[in-house]
């Protein structure tokens, strides 16, 4: 009997202790974490990248600035999610697509902060600009591994099918350090961009090296120029760390949809497709071969076509990148949309510059190629609208 009591108290104690320790949030509640199927070696590289991305902080002693936007990667991507107006980027240039004419004046990105003793950058006279909300980082490896041919197949630059939607890639000259994807599709010697608000970054290495340089003022072997002086300087971040961060970004898991079996959510998905939202926010893509097996030949649900679309005069900020016109924006992936609030301080800051404070407002700000879908949405019965929003919040 005495032994039974001891066992009872031990078990009760262990259970109580477990209850007193905060458990892990559900996999569908957070964006952080590696994609399933990484090897032990890949997990180690992922962890190194995780530390560099989320824990490394730059100060003047290790290269910050002297002009900068943020002091660490995680400053702009809390929990690997979308940013907040406090970390908004500003990029400046001009209205035509002849290439940024303000690079010699500090373009394309405004470093609006500076270490003590230095003055931050100002937008030069005559330059136009746009504000960019930092995006979520999740599932980028899957988007990176989609073959060019798939995106080319989704493109309808001249709207041959007559649906009013004419998505097209942002055709770019790629940096010398970028390694073209196998079976790249080129147009006039230019490659398809797929990362950034205007799809102006070719791959995650360019995106990462640019972010170190333009956001934090950190030079690397990839982007060796000091943002303040414009002169080449010694690397301030090692190539190994940049590569680790690229691997981390590639292998962050895609957001997991919540309550997929909920009838309203399933019905909302159908409303989403019926209103034509899915014509640009392509629900499903499939990757090609990737050296990372976990990314290879996988079907996933990002709700983007990674193509540029004219979004109308309301979203025309008068700023271009690559071949993207001023009103053209890359279709943002909708996965993770419902978790945006968890990285944006409990509020929504949607669209490229965070101007939309709710999902409904973001939809109603669509114009140009998005006009028909917006009109369809506005004509929906309140219950259907609610189901559509519920579906989007489940992503």
């Amino acid at each position: 009997m005495k032994k039974l009591f001891i066992i009872f108290f031990l078990v009760t104690g262990i259970v109580a202790c477990q209850k007193l320790l905060p458990g892990a949030p559900g996999d569908d509640e957070i964006l952080d974490g590696p994609i399933e199927g990484l090897t032990a070696e890949q997990n180690l590289v992922f962890l190194r990248g995780d530390i560099a991305f989320n824990d490394d902080v730059f100060t003047p002693a290790n290269g910050l600035g002297p002009i900068f936007v943020a002091t660490s990667c995680a400053s702009c991507h809390a929990g690997d999610g979308k940013g907040h107006p406090f970390t908004m980027l500003t990029r400046f240039g001009q209205t035509d697509v002849t290439g940024n004419q303000f690079l010699h004046l500090g373009g394309p990105q405004l470093q609006h902060r500076a270490i003590p003793g230095f003055q931050p950058e100002q937008i030069p006279a005559g330059a136009t600009f746009a504000k960019f909300m930092p995006p979520a980082n999740t599932g980028l490896g899957l988007l990176d591994a989609v073959p060019d041919a798939v995106l080319a197949g989704l493109s309808d630059e001249n709207d041959i099918n007559g649906d009013g939607i004419s998505g097209r890639p942002n055709w770019l000259s790629i940096p010398v350090y970028a390694v073209p994807r196998p079976a790249s599709v080129l147009q006039n010697g230019k490659y398809m961009g797929r990362f950034g608000k205007k799809a102006a970054a070719y791959d995650l290495l360019q995106q990462t090296a640019n972010a170190y340089n333009q956001d934090i003022g950190i030079a690397s072997v990839f982007e060796p120029n000091d943002t303040y002086s414009g002169l080449p300087i010694d690397p301030e971040v090692s190539t190994q760390i940049v590569n680790d961060v690229v691997f981390y970004l590639k292998t962050l898991k895609p957001p997991v949809q919540r309550n997929q079996q909920d009838a309203d959510i399933q019905s909302g998905r159908q409303v989403f497709l019926n209103t034509g939202c899915g014509n640009c926010h392509t629900p499903q893509l499939t990757t090609g071969f990737s050296p990372v097996a976990a990314l290879s030949n996988r079907t996933f649900f990002p709700y983007t076509d990674m193509l540029l679309h004219d979004m109308g005069p309301g979203l025309n900020d008068g700023y271009t990148e690559g071949s993207a016109a001023t009103a053209e924006w890359k279709t943002p992936a909708l996965w993770g949309l419902g978790l945006s609030k968890n990285s944006q301080g409990g509020q929504y800051f949607l669209l490229h510059d965070g101007r939309a404070r709710s999902i409904e407002e973001a939809i109603t700000l669509h114009a140009g190629e998005g006009s028909q879908s917006k009109n369809n949405f506005q004509q929906l019965a309140p219950a259907d609208k609610a189901r559509l929003i519920k579906f989007l919040e489940s992503l």
Binding site: L20, A24, T71, A78, R113, A114, I115, P116, G345
Partner: protein, 409 residues
Amino acid sequence: MKKIYLFIFFFCWVTSTVTAQVDPSLLRRIPQDTSKPQLNMDAVYNRPFLQAGKLPVALGGYAEANYQYLQQDGVTEGHQFQMRRLTLFVSSSIANRIKFLSEIEFEDGTKEINIEFASVDIEFNPLLNFRGGIVMNPIGAFNQNHDGPKWEFVDRPLSATQMLPATFSNVGFGLYGKQYRKDWVYAYEVYLTNGFDDRVIANGENKTFLPATKENPDRFEESFNGSPLVTGKVALRNNKAGELGLSYMGGVYNKYQEDGLRLDKKRRVNVFAIDFNTTVSKTKTVVNGEWAWVKVDVPDTYSEQFGEKQQGGFIDLVQPVFKKPVFGFEKSVINVALRLEYVDWNKGKFSATGSNIADDIFSLVPAISWRPGAQTVLRLNYRYNWQKDILGNPASKLAGFQFGIATYF
């Protein structure tokens, strides 16, 4: 074989000699001064020292070791055994009314070795004492009164270590004094010392973080900017009501000039603190708390990530519940205790949205402690932290159990 005999003989001789040297009868404990009410400022000398014979030198120290199992949002580093601190004191009476005390601390094994205190005190008058050397800046109460065995909690208060830079000591000089009037004690301290540096806003924490200054290895050798840090405190104690302290610490933290060239304007850190402790006579409940406000002149061009205002503090409630001999320890006391603590590293609003900046932590620490004697404590703590990032996103939760022992020796 002969060598072995020789070794055994030598070993026995040495150990018997050593035993003779540590014969407890040769050592005596210096009784702590209980004739007068003690203040937090007295903590450096109000420690159990050992004195050998009539030598004018007394030795002491304390050690803290603990076990912890903490888990943050489902992730744990497992079972951790830690040697948090080993601190050695040496005090000596150089002459009548001239004394010296040093305190050397080894943290986390030998990862950090600090001279926390090394000062000469000269008493001209009870109201006018001179102190010079490495002094403990008297901001709040914990910075001066931080010995592990005095506390029922394994961790030091968050506000004292993660907002204020406890234990913060610097090279400098100052004056202090006390006056006793019936049930009252009045005291003051004021020091000029070396101070903060630009790590306050350039550190690995990605926030305004005063403790980062402690990482400057040169701070006992030279001032970072040539401007002294002023620290002052007034305290009063009533035998019935308890002790109240008001303190201030302020100075320039940035390098505003070098080689005669102007680099920046002078940027200041200002810290105000209030501390209070008392024992409720009816229940014998000990109440001990401290609250501090920090104001830092952060450059306008810098990121809002770095707060201009911070505040935080803690309150400890300690209730003796069992005062009877346990396992033959005549002065054994079992306490239950609770600590509530809070730090806001960035008090303000985002200029872009007008919404509140978070970057704060709230913590709750219930505890049970057993003191076999006044100088030794075994403590079991349960900690639960809720910490929000700068944007106020859902709080990260950390919780777990800590068990530790701390003792003077």
